[in-house]
Each structure stands twice: as C-alpha cells, then as structure tokens.
C-alpha cells in the first residue's frame, strides 16, 4: 500500500516536472541569467530594453497573446525574411529559444 502511494507520488512528481517546466529543467540557472541578459540588452536593441518595442515590435505578454509558441520559436530560430529580425539558430539552442518564448509570454520577471 505504502509502496503504491510512493509510486503514485513519484509518478506525479515526474509528470509535474515534465510538463510546464520541461524547458526549465534543461537550462541551468547560470545560463538562464545569460539568456535574460541577452533578452534585455541584445534583443532589446530593437525591441526595447523593457520590451515595449522599438524598430521591432513590442514583446509584451499582451502583444504576444494568442500567437502560437511554435510560431514565435520559429521566428526566433529562423528570423523573418524581409525584416531585420535575424535567425538566432547557431547562437541559441531550440530549448533555450523555447524557454525564452515561454518567459516572454508570461512576462519577463525583472521587467520594470
């Protein structure tokens, strides 16, 4: 009985960690810090340091709402032809891009 409970708990823990935090689990905290820095300062050179937009569009949760994460991830990875948005593939991994898109859609934690 207690072994069943343990298994159940273990199963729940695995499921919980696998679902919303999947990208998180693959990126160590030091790299997360680097990615947030890149987001604010390098993505920020076109999208604004506070992500309210500049030459490029705003990247706030409101402006991204309703856009599929996969589309946004593809935009970051492959760029947008005919616009200044460059492909970040080669500089960022797919997991890192997925993590950044998820953060953007929720709102960047230290954005003022």
């Amino acid at each position: 009985m207690s072994r069943h409970l343990l298994l159940l708990l273990l199963g729940m823990a695995i499921l919980a960690s696998a679902m919303p935090l999947q990208a998180n689990a693959e990126i160590d905290p030091a790299r997360q810090g680097e990615l947030l820095h890149l987001l604010r300062h390098d993505c920020g050179s076109c999208h604004g340091m506070t992500l309210k937009g500049g030459l490029g569009p705003a990247l706030l949760p409101d402006t991204l709402a309703g856009k599929p994460a996969a589309t946004l991830e593809a935009t970051v990875l492959y760029g947008r032809a005919g616009t200044p948005m460059p492909p970040w593939r080669g500089l960022l991994t797919e997991a890192e891009v997925a993590w950044l898109v998820a953060i953007l859609m929720k709102g960047v934690p230290d954005a003022p």
Partner: protein, 389 residues
C-alpha cells in the same frame, strides 16, 4: 548699525556658500547609464566623473545634443522623454514626455529648436530649446492613413531637418525658418526600410542606409531638385546577406577628404566611397558586423565596434593605408565610442563590465577607466558645434 553688520555678514556667508569655482563646459560630456535611467557628467581633461543625475526614464536607446553655449544637454530617451540637463548646476533643467517611443533627435543650426524622431506615434516633434514648448508636430503620414516610424533625423543648414520614414521608404526635409509653420519636401520611393542616416559635416549630403537592399540613398541638400540618388548599388553583389544582430548606426559618418567610410549591412565590411563620384573606391574586411564607424576628428583613423556576438572587439583603421592597424578586445559589449574634441583620446563604453575605458589614439593603449553602470552612449559637448551630430 550692529544689525546692518549682521545682515552684511549673513549675505557674505550666503554668497560664499553658493559660489562654485568658475569653469567652462568645453571638456564636459554625458555618459548614458542605460539600465538605470541615469547619466554621468564627466570631464575629459582629467578623465573623471563629476556627477550622476538620475530620473531620466528609459534610456535603453538614448542620444544627446548640446546647446550652442555647451551649457545644456538634450537627452532623447527611448520612452519618448526629452530631458534638458544643466551641465554646470548638474541637474535636470526641464523635461517633457513628448511621445510613447522615440529614437533620437537633433538641434537646429541657430540652436533654438530641438527636434525629436518618434516611433510611436510616428513623426517628428519640434520644441523650443529654451522652454521645451512644442513648436511643430509633423506626423509621418503615408499611404492610406498609416504612420511611419521615423529614423535618421539630422540637422542641416538653414534650420532644416532631414529624416527618413522607416515603414514608408521616404526621406522628408522640413524647413523650420518659421518654426510654427514647417515647410516639408517629401522624396518618395527612396528604397526599402531606411534604418538610419547621416549628414556630412558641411550639412550638404544626407545618406540613408537601407535594410535588405544593396545600396544607400543619397540626397544632396544643396540640390534637392535633383532628387534622391542610389549609391553603392549592389554592394552586396547579390550575395545572401549575413544576419545582423544589431543595426548599424550611421551617425559616426567617417570621412576623409576624398572618401567616406560606411558600415556595410549584412556584410563584415567597411565600404569606401569616393566623395566626388559616390562610386565605390574599395572595401575593408572586418571582424564582424560593424555598428559604429567613427572617424577621429582629423580623419586619419576610424574606430569600429561590432554587433553581437563580436561586440567585445574594436578595430582601428588607418584611412591612408586603408587597412586595419589594430584589433583590440577591451571587454564585454563595447556599445559606443567617442573621441575627445581633438581626437587624442577615445572613450569606449564597456557595458557588461560596468566601465568606460579611455584609450590614447596614438599608442592605442588604455590610459584610464571610469566606473559606470551599464554604460552605452558617450557624448562630449564639442558636438554642439558640429552639424549632423
């Protein structure tokens, strides 16, 4: 009698307390601290910081112009704020929130008007330099009721301002002889996505860089009737451009007597242009995508910084030899460079190391460093007397 004496003593004390040593402003400058919304007032004779002024808002993309007496700085913030800073009293002398999102500005030849280029709402606003009162509002309307982001706003002679419409692909010249009634001349179909521009030191040639097109747009402001001419057409020779991780800034306008030196977009090259014919006169291979190509005031050297991921490097070009003479790695994220008025030193902002470095341009050695929080633009007051800066 005794009361008079007391009053006199009090007056002397008060005056003495207020008096600061007399000084000029010709060796002063501002450093933008982009993440904190603050600026440092610095002095380039002894490479020191005099004061930090806070409360300027979002300075993540900020630039500065100066009044002709070099007393006041006008700081253009990303959030649409225009802030006037008193360089001597070391405080904010005036501030207006004039749009939702702006990119930069310019000051008129006579110093009376400050113009700001706005992304949102797209257009140009012109302010009285003394009072910051709005004098003119020029919406960048195009097509079917749309408004374009405005870039590359530059001052020229005759109280004219030239600027480019990013979304519309147009160049406009606004004549502000009568500031409340600007006369606008529009040049259409100048090319796709002009992203920045520059004006030559004599105020004559306005050049807009185009994104995604192999060429630049040139307007001769002495001969506007000749229209906009395409120069350096097909400089990319039809090759696929490399990705650009930070847009070049053309403001540095590197010039020698015969040549102009321009950052190529999507190519790790500096383009050399013959100033008489506007034909390509060569190109210099570089370490990465150039962002600024800044000419030393005597025109003998050009210092270049680079876009991510090459932004830890600066290259120095000798304009006579037309080759790279030094590749320096001062630190992480070199965002901007500014020469002292006669060019013996250059100041570099090292954003990710919270530092500004000063290099001797003859020995190419670092001679000083100043702490600064996430520094970006560095602007010395000598810009007050240069057209197009």
């Amino acid at each position: 009698m005794r009361r008079n004496l007391f009053a006199l003593l009090l007056l002397v004390l008060l005056l003495g307390g207020c008096a600061t040593p007399l000084r000029g402003t010709g060796d002063l400058g501002l450093i933008i601290e982009r993440a904190d919304g603050s600026v440092l007032i610095v002095e380039s004779t002894h490479q020191q910081t005099l004061a930090r002024i806070e409360g300027l808002g979002d300075l993540s993309h900020a630039s500065v112009v100066y009044s002709r007496d070099e007393r006041y700085a006008y700081v253009f913030g990303r959030d649409g704020a225009l802030t006037k800073v008193d360089m001597l009293r070391q405080r904010i002398a005036g501030r207006v929130m004039q749009s939702g999102n702006s990119i930069g500005g310019a000051i008129s030849q006579d110093g009376r008007l400050v113009a700001v280029a706005n992304y949102q709402p797209g257009g140009v606003k012109v302010f009285d330099a003394e009072t910051l009162e709005l004098m003119a509002d020029i919406p960048a309307a195009y097509g079917d009721g749309k408004y374009s982001k405005v870039v590359g706003l530059e001052d020229s002679t005759g109280n004219r301002f030239a600027f480019s419409l990013y979304d519309a692909g147009e160049i406009w010249v606004a004549d502000l002889h009568d500031p409340r009634n600007p006369v606008i001349e529009k040049f259409r179909d100048i090319g796709r996505l002009p992203y920045d521009a520059l004006v030559s030191m004599d105020g004559r040639h306005y050049i807009a860089g185009l994104f995604g097109e192999d060429g630049l747009a040139l307007l001769d402001l002495w001969h506007p009737e000749r229209g906009v001419q395409r120069i350096l057409d097909n400089y990319g020779r039809g090759e696929q451009p490399l990705p650009v991780y930070k847009m070049p800034h053309l403001e540095g306008w590197a010039l020698s007597e015969e040549h102009a030196f321009l950052p190529a977009i999507g190519r790790h090259e500096l383009l050399i242009v013959d100033r008489r014919t506007w034909q390509e006169a060569g190109r210099i291979a570089l370490h990465g995508q150039p962002v600024f190509a800044m000419a030393r005031p005597d025109g003998r050297q050009i210092w270049i910084n680079f876009a991510h991921p090459h932004n830890d490097t600066v290259q120095v070009i000798d304009t006579v030899k037309q080759q790279v003479i030094a590749t320096l790695t001062p630190g992480k994220a070199i965002l901007h460079m500014e020469f002292t008025p006669r060019g013996e030193h250059i100041w570099l902002s090292v954003r990710d190391e919270d530092r500004v470095d000063v290099y001797d341009t003859t020995t190419l050695k670092r001679i000083a460093e100043l702490p600064a929080r996430k520094p970006s633009g560095i602007f010395f007051t000598a810009r007050a007397h240069r057209i197009g800066l």
